[in-house]
């Protein structure tokens, strides 16, 4: 098996969190834009818009957990 160096582990962990953070941000941006538009028409929608906007946030949390698990590799291995 190819030996994985510590630096490779660190980089892959960083990639995991960075890509998922970017994905979450991109998704949220699109939703928030539409949401603000909707709120301009109807202000009571704030609660619903907030919920829709934060839904993709889970993506970055998945990335975070994976990044953490990868870092665990560096310590364990």
């Amino acid at each position: 098996m190819v030996e994985i160096t510590t630096s490779m582990v660190a980089i892959s962990s960083a990639v995991a969190i960075a890509t998922s953070a970017f994905a979450a941000a991109w998704a949220e941006k699109n939703i928030a834009v539409a949401g603000v538009g909707a709120m301009a028409e109807k202000e009571e929608l704030f609660g619903k818009v907030l919920i829709l906007t934060v839904i993709p946030e889970t993506i970055v949390l998945f990335g975070f957990v994976i990044a953490y698990l990868i870092l665990g590799l560096a310590k364990g291995g």
Partner: protein, 620 residues
């Protein structure tokens, strides 16, 4: 506490001749939520009373007065129009407001025309400035038989003057340097006019605009000072008028505010028939009242006369009665979260109390710092004083701050420090060490499991109430079985077949209870639990930021007095920013965990807020 206040459906039917009295009684009682009638072939919507248009006209006038005079409602003024002002009548208000309005309008017109005059004077002054210092009377600029004149600005005037004197002797040049450049006035023999113009254009002559000043007499300077004086006089007059308006505002503000309140009430009354059903002879009002107001309503209606039909009935299965949530004092602040989203429907459990329990805990779990908790507590106590309107909101944050202090003790943190003055703060769990963070992550998932199961449990009871026990067992119980199955498969040494058979069972239950949607949502519940990782993640970022601030400042403290001061500044600014981010993050993320993860397990919402006829919404 877990149910909204009980409602009773009311139907009132009477002859149209009683309509005004019925409306006025209902308006005074302030207890009936009127259900708007929808037009049908059998029963048409009623039409408003004739005075409605007169009243709305008057309201518009009163409101325009209010804005013209800059009157604002202050909170100290009485909430209700006092009873002895019952002598208020639309006609009286209409007349008085009209006379005030005429007075104000004439003053406003006067002010406007005077302001226009000032503007005009200023533009003349601008023109005059071109001739300032030349010392020529303005009346000299008129048509002559033998002379032509040029007035304006030009460049290189000394040469210009020489050149002009070369072509004729009949020339006079006046010049003056001022901040506009070189002003010049040339009087020259009319025969040389074209030649002079040629020379002038070589010197970039630009003629002055004299439209506003050609009728003035005396020198420019005299005129400027005269106009300035005139302006200051006009300004004094304007100020005087404005003061008069201020006095009117002071004297009449109570009248105007009370009138507006009164008129809004009157308008509501006169437009009330729009919410009724009516035939040629009869009108019908349908609506809801709180159970406790039944007797009062009955008494009042009976008082009007005998020919009125009044019927109470329990809400039917499919009827959406309006909601008046019923919660103890501290807990009811949390009803705010439903105003923001959607309020519970009549049949479901009112989850305010659960949010009261869990929201501050999640908030505290994320922020979790003794020092930050005390700082935010102070901040929100002050804010509650400053903004009494948002009292409920700040109550939530105050309770959340208390939870932050509590979790600060658990994590042993004070503004990010785990050691104060050499004394190590005891902690159950440290957020700045690796092992602590892993423990914290596990703890977050456990919190998630508890929270989501609490939601499922509430969902179980909701479902049981609306669709019966077996539906509740399949639709919500399936999730419990699923979790047990996963737990057995993953974390216990029991034989795998038990776990797998439980897993199969749970899928069948969910399919029976929620259909294919339930089965498809199975991965979702693990996503939901995973989502609670944010409890740890956001908390840790806040701690790390605090640590960075503290360490940077610590290094600066050893570098002399200037760096010492900078270090203190860094500590202050850094922690203020970190607290601000912390409040925002903790609030939004705990809110999200409630709205998305928690509510999706049981909450339907879609309730209509109980808003009784006659209760006015706040007038700004």
């Amino acid at each position: 506490m877990f149910k909204p206040k009980e409602m009773t459906k009311v139907v009132i039917a009477a002859q149209k001749s009683c309509m005004k009295r019925v409306i006025s009684e209902l308006h005074q009682l302030k207890c009936m939520h009127i259900k708007e009638h929808k037009n049908s072939e059998l029963l048409k919507i009623g039409s408003p009373f004739d005075e409605a248009s007169h009243i709305s006209e008057t309201i518009v006038r009163v409101r325009s007065l209010k804005s013209a005079l800059g009157i604002k409602r202050n909170d100290s003024s009485k909430q209700e129009v006092s009873e002895n002002k019952a002598s208020m009548e639309t006609d009286v208000i209409s007349e008085k407001s009209l006379s005030i309005q005429q007075d104000i309008n004439s003053k406003l017109d006067e002010i406007k025309s005077m302001e226009l005059k000032i503007e005009k004077n200023n533009s003349i002054i601008d023109e005059l400035k071109q001739f300032a210092g030349l010392g020529i009377p303005l009346e000299s600029f008129s048509e002559y038989k033998s002379l032509a004149y040029f007035a304006g600005t030009a460049k290189d005037i000394e040469n210009l003057e020489l050149k002009l004197k070369n072509i004729t002797k009949k020339v006079a040049v006046y010049r003056q340097e001022n901040n506009l450049g070189n002003s010049i006035a040339v009087f020259i023999d009319i025969k040389m006019r074209d030649k002079a113009l040629e020379i002038l254009s070589l010197h970039k002559f630009s003629p002055a605009n004299m439209a506003g000043i050609d009728k003035l007499e005396g020198t420019a300077d005299e005129n400027i000072s005269r106009l300035l004086e005139e302006n200051s006089l006009i300004e004094k007059k304007i100020l005087n008028l404005k003061n008069q308006m201020k006095r009117i505002a002071e004297v009449e503000s109570e009248f105007i505010i009370d009138s507006e309140k009164f008129l809004v009430g009157e308008l509501e009354k006169s437009e009330a028939p729009l919410r009724f059903a009516e035939t040629k002879e009869v009108f019908i009002v349908t609506g809801w009242i709180l159970n406790e107001n039944k007797e009062a309503l009955q008494k009042r209606i009976r008082k009007i006369g005998k020919g009125i039909y009044l019927k109470f009935s329990e809400p039917m299965e499919n009827e959406n009665a309006p909601i008046k949530l019923k919660n103890p004092k501290v807990v009811n602040s949390f009803e705010f979260f439903f105003d923001l989203y959607t309020i519970p429907s009549y049949k479901e459990i009112d989850p305010t109390f659960f949010i009261f329990l869990t929201f501050p805990l999640l908030f505290g779990f994320i922020l979790g710092d003794f020092g930050y908790g005390i700082a935010t507590l102070m901040l929100f106590l002050i804010m509650r004083r400053v903004m009494p309107k948002a009292k409920g909101f700040f109550n939530i944050l105050i309770i959340a701050s208390l939870a932050t202090i509590l979790f600060g003790l658990v994590f042993g943190e004070f503004f990010g420090f785990e050691e104060v003055g050499g004394y190590h703060i005891p902690h159950l769990l440290s957020r700045s060490e690796d092992e602590g963070i892993i423990e914290l992550l596990k703890l977050s998932f456990i919190v998630g499991v508890i929270h989501i199961n609490l939601g499922l449990l509430i969902g179980f009871f909701n479902e049981k109430k609306s669709h019966g026990f077996s539906q509740a067992l399949f639709a919500k119980g399936g999730w419990f079985v699923l979790q047990i199955a996963v737990f057995m498969l993953g974390l216990t040494p029991y034989p795998k077949y038990i776990g797998y058979s439980l897993l199969g069972l749970s899928i069948l239950m969910l399919f029976k209870g929620e259909g294919i949607r339930g089965v498809l949502e199975i991965p979702g519940i693990f996503g939901n639990i995973m989502s609670y990782a944010r409890l740890m993640a956001i908390g840790v970022t806040s701690v790390l930021l605090a640590l960075v601030i503290n360490n940077l400042a610590k290094n600066m403290f050893h570098g002399g007095p200037v760096l010492f001061a900078a270090g203190i500044l860094l500590l202050a600014v850094g922690h203020i920013i970190n607290i601000a981010i912390g409040i925002l993050g903790s609030f939004l993320h705990s809110l999200r965990l409630h709205y998305v993860e928690f509510f999706s397990k049981f909450f339907h919402g879609g309730g209509i807020k109980y808003s009784p006829f006659g209760v006015q919404k706040d007038i700004e």
